[in-house]
């Protein structure tokens, strides 16, 4: 018992902080429909403000009040107004991408505003952190632990009073149950939801300020981990119950310490503790899903917004009308039946933008093989490798609508395997790439089987948890990622042909990219693509038509994991070695955000995203740190713009070009009518005046 207390008591402050996060997440999710992953970043921003103010000689309590009660809600309200309010009824992807982007960008932006990273260890908000105030049994309780617990108790007390005894609390409880029902009763749900945002942002800020002293340094990383624990707590609360989320968060904080205490020290214990959220998510997510259906009005959803509609269809009505109707049986139909349909777009109309894309690509390839300097070529080659990984997302998220936050993990796995097999077994690297892809696909099946009963947000969270598990258990293993040491991946050779030099390797990469693109295109245009379109719009109707939705999903997930694995292996071979850092879970999030912004619905989108990502990487590593921060700002702004154009930058640009061209054509026809008379009144006597133009 004493031993248990020894382990459990130090877990309480963590539990308190996790609980605050979990409650805040549930609060905003239910009140505004957005599962705000940027919460971790909000916590960081407040923590940073707190420590910076103290460094500027503010008293600790004042810094705490400003950080928690002013800066926290300010950031929250800003995000709500600028962003989240607009996407309340959008599809899960459209809701998730901005919050993921902000999770990455916001801390960087805050660091720029703060000027410099504070270099003092974050102090506790009240009391002496180190002093032992009392003993629980034999366990000493420090001022830090005491202050965190006390602050949490106060917040929970305030919440209880607010919810039980005030009118706005009653309204908030109603909104949490059913926003639509509450609106019908004459309550302004928007106002209530804004209040919920303020409240939850305060909680995020408090969690950040309380958590900061638990670490010796302020690192955004720790706050992302905090977020994941909070997510696990929210899932225990089934996304809907505030008390359960509170208890869940507390239990996780205590549980992780007890867990780590009883396990023998070493890699297993160190790895298992951070993967606890994965286990929790797997166990509790299926329960959460059923609870979500409880809104009594959920069966009469309002018509989806334009944002949602344009983001949900891989090939929406608009693109079909724009002449891109590969999904239609039109041509077969007409050939077979011999009937032409009025107004149907011809299958042969090519988009002018597609021609342009091919031309640009060709110029780039020719340049790469002739005059481009070696370091540029290397960047371009990285772009090609990433394009393959992005294509795996085109297939999975773009076509099938499943959100994966562990694509980098699969890529890493493929890369590590290719390297390990080459180093230990002497397998040729090209075969190693295939093997890496197959292994990633196999692991994809293993991940898919328990998680793919879920869809949308729960699936995304489950894959996030898997990415964490890969980071902490798979990658440190000497048989897989070999921890910090990483794995070397040699350049391949096929018989007499060596791909060791930059240009041959670039050609090889292009071939792999072409094959991958071919697979994605064939799947998308084929019967499977039609099935995927069907499942994405209505899983119910698809299965009612006889589509085995689950099998289809597992298949696509595995195929996508396999493609990512091949891309990772190619990247490893390009770089010569891979470290687990190149494929951490944050990378998965960044990859998804980048490709979503550029365009998830076309092969060109994946290729451009690859180039953009490789360029960004170069920019971040070679530019002075001040400009590297600007990259983060740009990234954040692009994330904001994503909610306006969820179809992706490329599709948006394509549509604009097409409109412009069409208008130009119309204008030209107007200016030079095919048969125009030179006289001031063309009138009905047109045939009499075929003069002028020819001369």
């Amino acid at each position: 018992m004493t031993q248990f207390l020894d382990y459990a008591v130090p877990g309480v402050p963590f539990g308190c902080v996790f609980a605050l996060m979990a409650v805040g997440l549930v609060l905003t999710y239910k009140a505004s429909g957005v599962f705000n992953l940027a919460f971790g970043a909000q916590a960081f921003v407040s923590a940073l403000a707190y420590v910076s103010l103290i460094q500027d000689d503010w008293p600790r309590w004042a810094a705490g009040v400003i950080a928690v009660l002013v800066i926290g809600p300010f950031v929250g309200v800003l995000l709500d107004r600028l962003l989240f309010r607009r996407i309340r009824t959008a599809s899960p992807l459209v809701k998730l991408v901005p919050s993921l982007g902000l999770l990455v960008a916001l801390p960087q932006v805050a660091l720029i505003i703060a000027g410099a990273e504070p270099d003092i260890p974050p102090p506790a908000i009240v009391g002496n952190a180190q002093r032992v105030y009392l003993h629980l049994g034999s366990v000493p309780v420090s001022g830090l632990e005491l202050s965190i617990s006390a602050a949490t108790v106060v917040v929970v007390g305030v919440l209880v009073v607010l919810f039980r005894f005030t009118p706005v609390g009653l309204e908030m409880r109603a909104v949490v149950e059913s926003p639509r029902m509450t609106e019908l009763a004459g309550v302004n749900a928007g106002r209530v939801s804004a209040f919920a945002w303020i409240l939850s942002s305060i909680m995020a800020a408090l969690a950040g300020v309380l958590l900061a002293p638990l670490y010796s340094q302020l690192d955004p990383q720790n706050f992302t981990v905090l977020l994941v624990w909070g997510v696990a707590g929210a899932v225990i609360g089934r996304f809907s119950s505030l008390p359960l989320a509170l208890v869940g968060g507390l239990a996780l904080g205590v549980g992780q310490q007890v867990f780590a205490g009883y396990l023998p020290a070493g890699v297993i214990a160190n790895g298992l503790r951070p993967s606890l959220p994965f286990v929790v998510l797997l166990v509790f997510l299926p329960l959460a899903r059923q609870r979500q259906l409880d809104d009594p009005l959920s069966v009469c959803d309002p018509p989806s917004s334009a944002v949602e509609r344009s983001a949900s269809g891989y090939r929406s009505a608009a693109t079909v009308a724009a002449g891109d109707d590969a999904h239609s049986v039109g041509l077969w139909h007409r050939r077979l039946v011999g009937r032409d349909v009025d107004g149907a777009p011809g299958l042969l109309t090519r988009r002018p933008t597609a021609t342009l894309a091919w031309a640009v690509g060709l110029v780039a390839i020719v340049s790469a093989l002739t005059w481009v300097p070696p370091d540029w070529l290397s960047t371009m080659n990285q772009g090609v490798a990433f394009a393959i990984i992005f294509l795996s997302l085109t297939l999975l998220t773009g076509m099938s609508g499943q959100i994966s936050l562990c694509q980098a993990s699969f890529a890493g796995l493929g890369g590590f395997m290719a390297g390990q097999l080459a180093n230990h077994v002497g397998l040729p690297v090209v075969l190693g790439m295939v093997a890496g892809g197959l292994l990633a696909a196999g692991l994809g099946v293993l991940v898919a089987i328990p998680t793919l009963r879920l869809a949308g947000l729960p699936l995304a969270l489950a894959t996030l948890a898997f990415a964490l598990l890969a980071d902490n258990i798979l990658f440190p293993n000497s048989w897989i990622g070999n921890g910090a040491g990483g794995v070397t991946v040699p350049r391949p050779s096929a018989g007499p042909v060596s791909f060791a030099a930059a240009k041959p390797f670039f050609v090889l990469s292009l071939v792999v990219l072409a094959v991958t693109a071919g697979v994605v295109k064939l799947v998308g245009d084929g019967t499977m693509g039609r099935y995927l379109s069907a499942v994405r719009s209505s899983e119910l109707a698809a299965s009612a038509s006889g589509v085995d939705v689950y099998r289809l999903r597992v298949l696509v997930f595995a195929l996508s994991a396999g493609l990512a694995g091949v891309g990772g292996a190619l990247y490893g071979s390009l770089e010569g070695s891979l470290s687990p850092d190149s494929f951490g879970y944050q990378i998965s999030a960044v990859l998804l955000v980048v490709v979503a912004i550029v365009g998830l619905r076309s092969i060109a989108g994946a290729v451009v995203a690859g180039v953009v990502y490789a360029t960004l990487q170069v920019a971040v590593t070679t530019l002075p740190s001040r400009f590297a921060g600007l990259v983060a700002v740009l990234f954040g702004l692009a994330t904001l713009s994503y909610t306006r154009h969820p179809e992706g930058f490329l599709d948006y640009l394509g549509a604009r070009t097409q409109h412009a061209l069409a208008r130009h054509r119309v204008a030209r026809v107007d200016a030079h009518p095919p048969v125009a008379g030179p006289g001031p009144a063309p009138g009905p006597v047109v045939p009499a005046a075929p003069v002028g133009e020819g001369a």
Partner: protein, 256 residues
């Protein structure tokens, strides 16, 4: 309607939500080619019964036999492939897809012969028989002119027909229609009735129809089942059941 002619036999279906009894030992049999209407006040358990038969919900008790197979543990898509087509009260269409594609997806999925590797070899296209069947159903429903339109652009009446057409693909032996007339005006409903009649005549498909529009029910079904509070209140010929005083009290709200 039991014995050799029975196509679907559900026996003793019960379903509870918490303490609420939605279905209490309901029996339902549908003969080959027979059209059965299910009526009853809101909350009588009609849609729950549909969902239990189709596999969207698991009944707490009871068995469902289709043809000579027990299907009550099979997933939805298996039941669909065995030959049950279904429409939904709330429209479930595939956004952005054309009318013809809706039918094609259903036709290919129902046969279960699609293989992924065919897609990789660019051999995943529809076969001529599949396309002919799509064509035939389009003609039957009068949708041939709209075949290449995306469904998003259709009015509700035509959209309901697309749903019906999708349910008819793969030549099912049983069609389950959940309030197909809801939201339709009198003309659209009449057209729907005519099309249902023609479909039954030409394919011999059995129909289970949940419907509030009594004119459609009367013109379509051979037999009526009245549900009330999760139990079967009455069953028999349409005129006879509707004349039943107990039915009139429970459903039509008249004290006869």
């Amino acid at each position: 309607m039991t014995g050799a002619g029975a196509l679907l036999v559900a026996s003793g279906i019960s379903k509870q939500y918490g303490g609420i009894v939605a279905l209490d030992h309901v029996d339902l049999a549908v003969g080959t080619g027979e059209a059965v209407g299910i009526v009853g006040p809101n909350g009588a358990g009609k849609t729950t019964l549909f969902n239990c038969l189709f596999g969207l919900e698991d009944p707490d008790e009871g068995t469902v036999v289709f043809g000579d197979r027990r299907i009550d543990r099979l997933p939805v898509w298996r039941r669909s492939r065995l030959g049950i087509g279904r429409t939904f009260q709330r429209m479930e269409l595939f956004e952005g897809m054309t009318v013809a594609d809706h039918l094609l997806v259903a036709e290919q999925a129902a046969s279960g012969t699609v293989r992924v590797w065919r897609d990789f070899l660019h051999r995943g296209g529809p076969t001529p028989p599949e396309l002919h069947h799509v064509e035939a159903v389009l003609d039957l429903l009068g949708l041939a002119d709209l075949a290449d339109r995306p469904v998003d652009a259709l009015d509700l009446g035509h959209a309901r027909l697309v749903e019906l057409g999708r349910a008819m693909m793969g030549s099912p032996r049983l069609l389950m229609l959940d309030e197909p007339s809801s939201g339709l005006d009198v003309d659209d409903t009449a057209r729907l009735g005519r099309i249902l009649d023609e479909t039954r005549r030409s394919t011999g498909v059995a129909v289970v129809l949940v419907e509030h529009d009594l004119s459609l029910v009367e013109s379509t079904v051979d037999r009526l089942v009245v549900l009330n509070f999760g139990t079967v209140l009455a069953t028999g010929g349409v005129a006879e059941v509707l004349a039943d005083p107990e039915v009139r009290r429970a459903y039509l709200g008249t004290t006869a």
